[in-house]
């Protein structure tokens, strides 16, 4: 484990609590001698996926949208581990985080393979980094919400040929514990 990309989907960074926590995770990872790249999605110039499929059949592997997406794709695909970080909002990670996740289709190949009796898109790259979730709960978050989020990110890992290694919460885990765990993968 050498290089980590953190995708911070906080959409209210002015509230500071969540983004401050993520900043601490970043620092603790660095003190574990890891290379860390943090993207604060909400403050970047990013557009939503248009479903145009240029990245599949016009400019293979490249997204047609001219914005900051490329830096994120480049960092993600060349990392050893990804952290999806977001406060839960309406029972799920933020629209900002989903905005960039939708566009990860450019990292896959359109060709289809069968896995677990399901259709999936084939790999474009040899290796897709495993990922972990760091979430902040809402006032009304319950066990069912957490199960649903894990379920949906489990689907993401099937699609992206990788593994979800953890789902941690800012309420119950210390930044140094998470950093320590990651450094031992």
């Amino acid at each position: 484990m050498k290089k980590i990309t953190i995708l911070n989907g906080d959409i209210h960074p002015e509230k500071k609590i969540f983004s401050e926590y993520i900043h601490q995770v970043e620092e603790k990872l660095m003190s574990e001698k890891l290379e860390v790249h943090v993207f604060n999605i909400n403050s970047m110039n990013l557009f939503y996926c248009k479903g145009c499929w240029s990245c599949w059949w016009k400019t293979p592997g490249k997204c047609d949208i001219q914005d900051d997406g490329s830096q994120i794709f480049q960092s993600v695909i060349n990392s050893d581990f990804i952290i999806f970080a977001s406060p839960l909002i309406a029972g799920f990670t933020s629209s900002a985080l989903k905005k960039i996740t939708d566009r990860f289709v450019c990292l896959l190949h359109p060709y289809i393979q069968i896995k677990n009796g399901e259709n999936h898109h084939q790999k474009r790259y040899e290796k897709y980094p495993d990922f972990g979730l760091i979430l902040e709960q809402e006032a009304d978050t319950d066990e069912e919400d957490i199960e649903i989020v894990k379920n949906i990110y489990g689907r993401l890992s099937l699609n992206f040929h990788n593994n979800m290694r953890f789902c941690h919460f800012t309420e119950s885990n210390k930044p140094e514990e998470i950093a320590h765990e990651i450094s031992h993968y």
């Binding site: 029972g91 629209s95 939708d102 289809i112």
Partner: protein
């Protein structure tokens, strides 16, 4: 019934969601007032939120993105948190995907049910339909059954203000690929035929030779 239909396709009006919605509305043909809106663009988003507030029944249709709702649909859900609930609404969803099997949409379905509850509304269910990509270019014979099902879904909805459970069940099959379908896929994949749709479009765009490019490898 005051019905609002919100189309969450990132492809805006030129989408498979729109094609299916048109069939639904053909069957619906009731005197009820229908407000239609989209989620692409700031003005459209405002209209969608206003339509949601002013209606008593809401249908939200969108494509499956990474086995989940697309980002713009999530953004819309977030905007609903700020809405004062004066009336409890009846809310249903239609999720369509490229892959044929409904297992891809199952986790999302749980989310949509929970979201409706969280917002304090009545959940009408989620219609799940896979295998939708490409319907725009299919000859009418190939889409006749699917379009007929959506038309029936619309006429049933006009009469009962709910989704027809029989059609819902038909639409969500297969759940997973059958053994025979997997066998068939493996057989024809050796001929390259399973890549036909992609290859055709890659060639049309003079991009076939670049199809395995890895632009972000360092």
């Amino acid at each position: 019934m005051k019905l609002a239909i919100i189309n969450g396709s990132p492809r805006y009006k030129n989408s498979n969601s729109t094609l299916l919605m048109d069939q639904f509305l053909k069957g619906f043909s009731s005197k009820s007032e229908i407000a239609q809106s989209y989620l692409v663009g700031t003005e459209n988003k405002k209209k969608a939120l206003a339509d949601f507030v002013e209606s008593d029944t809401v249908l939200i249709i969108f494509p499956l993105y990474t086995d989940c709702k697309p980002g713009i649909v999530k953004e819309f859900f977030e905007s609903l948190l700020g809405v004062e609930n004066s009336v409890q609404k009846r809310v249903g969803f239609i999720v369509q995907s490229g892959f044929p099997e409904s297992i891809h949409s199952e986790a999302l379905e749980r989310y949509l049910q929970k979201l409706t509850k969280r917002l304090g509304h009545i959940y009408l269910g989620t219609v799940i339909k896979g295998g939708v990509e490409g319907i725009k270019i299919m000859p009418p014979g190939m889409t006749k059954k699917l379009f007929g099902q959506f038309e029936k879904l619309g006429s049933y909805f006009a009469e009962f203000q709910n989704f027809d459970p029989k059609i819902m069940k038909q639409l969500r099959t297969p759940y997973k690929l059958s053994a025979s379908r997997i066998f068939f896929f493996n057989l024809i994949s050796k001929t390259g035929l399973t890549n036909f749709y992609w290859d055709m479009n890659l060639k049309k765009n003079n991009a076939f030779e670049q199809r395995f490019d890895k632009p972000f490898s360092v």
